[in-house]
Every structure is written in structure tokens, then in C-alpha cells.
């Protein structure tokens, strides 16, 4: 198994290298586009200044990009459209990246829009995004089925399955947002969004990522078989996480993330550690200021992981771990690990499993 895992990591490194080269080419291409855009902007500014100087009111509109997505019809039958009204949209058949040259299958660009994919699949080609909720398109609802239907949708084989860049979104009822190149669900720089009742399995790197976000609710989700981390909170505070993360490298990782509640969760059978609070495990003694403080880890399970159950890394303090069932992890006295001297200001109480210090109870 270990050999297989090592081969997997080696393979991923090679793929990462290829992706980086591809990204470099894309960045070069984008730089050319940006230079072109910059020149256009300079020309527009010159026109505005000139018209102002002449006292002439000119209507200066930004040039419409040649590849702008058309507005979605209320019944969506193909990838490559943008939701522009605050109304209900439904998907009528399976959708695929082959139906468009655009990088996103469905883009939600209007607040209070509702998208229901009605159990149909959204299948990518390894790049782009299945569904993106644009910044400002607040209060969107994205659901993968109706209460009266049987099957839920799969969103697979994109770079990112579903990306939420807007506040107050609700994303739920998906059979699997999985097998995407990088991430199943990315919640990015938002507040108040809800992600629930879905699986995010077998993604290249991450199942669910909460990035620079707050007051996000993740509930009743499962992330399994993701290449690196099942549930990753990156620089995100005041969130609620209730989910399952198994058979990843790390189950759940709170990275530079504070004041979160992780409750009723299960982090089991991960090839490294169930739950990590603080800097990455590759960072010895956590130099710098990568701290995750004042989190509550309550009523959860972190068992049967290859190395450790719950780990609080050095310099992270004020965390409370209680009512945890953390037995049967691989390392000696590694069910619960606190790298701080006498646990620092962290509180461990009423847990089961073996700790690396006597302050862990």
C-alpha cells in the first residue's frame, strides 16, 4: 500500500510539474492578453480625457470580450452560459465541457439566482470550473436535485467542481463533486455560505476548501480519497464544520484559521493524520506566524489514521478538544498530539486515545 501511495505521490509530482509548465505557458499567454488590455485601457483613458477636455460627452463602453458567455435560458441544455437574472434555472440534460470553448460550464452572475441541476451530470475535461458563483452574486442557491426526484447530480472532471465567490450561497444535494483535477468545492473570500448534503470524493488535491472565508457552514458532507486534504480551512475564521474526511492524506486541516467549530466530525483512515490544527506537517516547529487559535473540536472521531489522530502544532493556542474518540492511530501515543509545552493554552478534556503529554486527557 505504501509503495502504491509513494508511486501515487511521485506521479502527482510529475503531473504537478507538467501542470506548472502548462500554467507558465498560460500565464505568458495571459500576460500578452493583459498587455493588450492595458493598452486598450490607456487608449480609453486618453479618449475620456480628450472628450472631457473638449467638453464632449462620449459614451465610453468597455469592449465586449469576444468569448463572453451568453445568458442562460431558464432551462439549460448546454455548458457555456451565464445566469443573469434572479430567477429559477434548471438543467434539462447532462452537460459537458465539449459543449463550449469557455472555461466554465455555468456561471452565476446575478444575486438571488437559483440553479438546480436536477440530477444531471456536469462533466469537464480536466480544466475549468463546473459551476462558479461570481463575486457579488450573493444569496445564490445551487442544488443538485429536487426534493421529489431520486438522483442527485455529479460534477466531475473539472479543475474545480463548484466555486463560490459570493456571500450567502447555499450549495447542497450533490451525489459527488469529485474526480476534479484540483478541488471539489472551493469557497473563496465569502461570508455566510452553506455547503451541505454532498460528497466531494477523489479530487486531485482537495475535497472542500474554505479560503479566507468566515461564518461558513459545512454540514453533512463526506470527503474521501482526495489527493491531499479532505476538508481544508485556509485563513478562515468563525466557521462551522460538521463532516467526514476519510482516506485522504490529511482529513481536516485548520491552517491559519481561528475561532472555528469542528463538531460531530469523523476523520478516519487517512494516510497521515486525521485532523491538524496549525501549520502544515512539513513545517518543522511552525516558524513564522502560522497559527490556528481558539478553535473548538468537539464530539468528533479521529481514529485509524496511519500516523496521528488530532495534532495541534506548535504556537497554536487556546484550542479546546473535548468528547473526542481518537483511538487506534498508527504512531505511538499519537492519537492526540500537542506540540506545545504542557499543551500551552490548549485544553484537552474527556477524550479517548493516547496523548503525547499528560496534559491531554
Amino acid at each position: 500500500m505504501k509503495r502504491s501511495r509513494d508511486q501515487g505521490i511521485h506521479s502527482r509530482l510529475i503531473n504537478d510539474d507538467a501542470r506548472m509548465k502548462s500554467s507558465a505557458q498560460a500565464m505568458s499567454s495571459r500576460k500578452t492578453q493583459m498587455d493588450s488590455t492595458k493598452k486598450t485601457c490607456v487608449r480609453l483613458l486618453a479618449r475620456i480625457s480628450l472628450s472631457a477636455a473638449l467638453g464632449v460627452a462620449l459614451s465610453v463602453l468597455p469592449p465586449k470580450p469576444a468569448n463572453a458567455a451568453p445568458s442562460c435560458p431558464a432551462t439549460i441544455t448546454a455548458c457555456g452560459c451565464k445566469i443573469t437574472n434572479s430567477q429559477i434555472y434548471t438543467v434539462a440534460n447532462n452537460l459537458s465541457a465539449a459543449q463550449t470553448t469557455l472555461p466554465t460550464c455555468i456561471e452565476i452572475a446575478k444575486d438571488h439566482a437559483i440553479l438546480n441541476t436536477m440530477g444531471f451530470s456536469l462533466t469537464g475535461s480536466g480544466k475549468g470550473t463546473g459551476i462558479v458563483i461570481d463575486k457579488g452574486a450573493d444569496h445564490a442557491i445551487v442544488e443538485g436535485t429536487t426534493e421529489t426526484a431520486n438522483g442527485q447530480s455529479n460534477v466531475t472532471q473539472w479543475n474545480i467542481g463548484i466555486e463560490d465567490d459570493a456571500n450567502d450561497a447555499i450549495i447542497q444535494l450533490f451525489a459527488n463533486i469529485g474526480n476534479n483535477s484540483t478541488t471539489g468545492v472551493l469557497v473563496k473570500q465569502v461570508t455566510n455560505s452553506i455547503v451541505g448534503d454532498l460528497l466531494a470524493n477523489s479530487n486531485g488535491r482537495f475535497g472542500i476548501v474554505v479560503d479566507h472565508s468566515s461564518r461558513v457552514e459545512i454540514y453533512n458532507v463526506a470527503t474521501s480519497g482526495d489527493g491531499e486534504v479532505g476538508l481544508w480551512l485556509d485563513s478562515s475564521n468563525n466557521n462551522h464544520i460538521l463532516g467526514t474526511a476519510g482516506a485522504n492524506i490529511l482529513g481536516t486541516w485548520l491552517s491559519t484559521s481561528s475561532n472555528n467549530v469542528v463538531a460531530d466530525d469523523a476523520n478516519i483512515n487517512n494516510s497521515n493524520t486525521g485532523l491538524v490544527v496549525g501549520c502544515g506537517l512539513d513545517r518543522k516547529n511552525c516558524p513564522g506566524n502560522e497559527r490556528s487559535n481558539n478553535n473548538y473540536i468537539v464530539f468528533g472521531t479521529a481514529s485509524s489514521n496511519t500516523k496521528a489522530g488530532v495534532v495541534i502544532r506548535k504556537h497554536s493556542g487556546g484550542n479546546t478538544v473535548t468528547l473526542g474518540t481518537n483511538n487506534g492511530n498508527g504512531g505511538n501515543k499519537m492519537d492526540m498530539v500537542d506540540e506545545n509545552n504542557k499543551c500551552g493554552s490548549n485544553v484537552w478534556y474527556n477524550n479517548t486515545g493516547q496523548g503525547n503529554q499528560s496534559c491531554i486527557r
Binding site: H139, E147, Q172, G196, R215, Y219, N220, H240, L242, A263
Partner: protein
Amino acid sequence: MKAVYGSIVTALNANGNKQFGVLFSNTTGASLINVSANRNNQAGLKLDSSTGNSIGPGGMESNGTYGIWLQSSSGNTIRDSNGNQFNNDTGIRLAGGSNKNRIASGGAPNNGKAGIVITLGSTGNTVTVTHNPGNGNPNSDMVDPNPNCDSNVWYNNLGNPSQACIK
């Protein structure tokens, strides 16, 4: 919980009390996780002038009035809260200017009068993926007396609604 911030209540039953099973009063940012509150004389859970709290999983059943009662309470999230049932009056009630709450994935079936009720003047709430059949009064599985639901959003729910804007 009275006038507190960020407290957590988890893994307990609050049953058979004279008023409420659990009461949040002027409380912010608290969490109620895996709690049931059954057979209380009034409501199973009451949020009174409380904002930004997180409720669920857990259901409140067989209470004297309401399963979950939000009074003048805004910005709360109730998710994965099934089984708000067999209450004498209503499963989930949002009243007294309770705004911008979200109820996502849950249910309020088989209550004496109504399933989920948003009273007049409570707006900006979202109710989605709830199943609420079998409540006592006609067309009262989901009730919203605000004209055209005002800014409340009801989507992807089951049960008989009081008006067409409830879906």
C-alpha cells in the same frame, strides 16, 4: 444561554421542562449541535433576540407549542434539522421580525397546526430542502403571510403552501 457569545451546546437531551428545552436569550454566535428537546411545555428551542447562531443537527418534537421558535432573532442558520414534528402548534416558527435566517435541509411534518411559519413582518429568510407534509391546518405545511412572500425565499420544499411564492 443568556447574553453570551460563542458558546457550544452539544450531545444532550433537554426534555420535559416546564417552559423550554433550550433557550437562547440575547445570544450571539452560539452553536447547538446534536441536541434534542422534546415534550417541553412550551417550545423545544427558543431563540429570543438572538443573532448569528448555528442550529443542527437535531430535531424538537412533541412540545406544547413550537418545536423551534425564533422570536426577534435574525441571521441564524438552522441546518440538518429533521424531525421537528408532533408539536401541538408549529414545527418551526419565525416571528416578531426575525430576518435573514436560513433553514436548509430539514423538516417540520405532522404538527398540530403548521409546519414552518414565517409571520408577517419577518423578511429576508431562506427556506430550502425541507419536507413538511401532514400538518393539521389546510395549506399550512409552509406558511408565509407576507405579500408575495416579500423577500423570503422558499425553494425546493415539500408540503402544501399557503401561497404560490412558496415552492
